[in-house]
Symmetry: D2
Subunit: 101 residues, 4 copies
């Protein structure tokens, strides 16, 4: 099955966040994680909640390695087990219904 997880890592004390998000993107690329960057978050598709937590924990720890003293990380998990679906399917399903009506 696949789990879709959105996360936002905010290093407190910093005004510009793009440098930090860029480091997270590099981490996801290096690990070969399926992800989508949005203007407000990063969304990953993984095979289990624990796999997702492992990746996000690594990204969260990365901030401290970059010198940040306080990190606020928000995570939202969408875990549906009665049917298999991917990130793209969710958007497709909405757009199909929006066009019907």
């Amino acid at each position: 099955m696949s789990v879709i997880i959105e996360f936002v890592i905010v290093p407190l004390g910093e005004l510009s966040l793009s440098r930090y998000v860029a480091e997270v993107v590099k981490l996801l690329e290096k690990k070969g994680v399926k992800y989508q960057l949005t203007p407000m978050s990063t969304i990953i598709e993984v095979s289990s909640v624990s796999e997702g937590f492992k990746i996000i924990e690594e990204a969260h720890e990365l901030m401290f390695k970059l010198g940040v003293k306080r990190v606020s990380t928000t995570i939202r998990i969408d875990d549906r087990r009665d049917k298999r679906r991917h990130m793209e399917d969710k958007i497709k399903s909405v757009l199909e219904k929006a066009q019907e009506g």
Copy 2:
């Protein structure tokens, strides 16, 4: 200036949400709001927090009109006033920095 707001409207008591998100998309289209649909949320770009709240309140109320009894709505506002930027700029800035390093 522009404010970027992410929101998620969850009708409790429902297993499939795409029908409801589709109604929100139709509302945004009708109102001519600049938006982006992601696998986990809807992101809008508006000129002020109050304009954003007005739109989200309308979308939230729509759920009750569709027969829902309980609605959980999550909103995240990114309001930066020292420089003007758009939804696309945020992603572009991250990707440029990710390629540098």
Copy 3:
């Protein structure tokens, strides 16, 4: 009816947030809003979503008046219309069920 809304206002660029939360608490006291401060957020009980939005917008704007340049505000609304309930009722209901089993 009553709507319960949790919110968190984070001034980016600041390491310590308590000074800012204190200003929000003072605003809520002055306006006579029913609220509860938790270690992670502020929760208010209001009569409608629009009343809640008005209060949170005022608190959000307050940050810029205090000199902050970028504000990230997160809001979560729990709006149930099939029965009236208050903040205390939600906790009571959980604790009763936890003791039964």
Copy 4:
């Protein structure tokens, strides 16, 4: 050090959530985790992010064992490493500053 984590586990398809939150409370009690129940969430204080994730994953999985088909879990971590502080300290610090002004 201690990490403070807020989480909300929402079983989709259910209108009343208190029964599910009660099961999470029982789990936290059984495991001896320091926690606070609020009208909108559960807040735990743990010694590391990975300890927190382990507990939340167990609570998230519990929902599926109770027959839920889709679970939406939201987590917010406040991880500050330049000084040690507890859940109570955060509220105390805000209230002190609110009384000063």
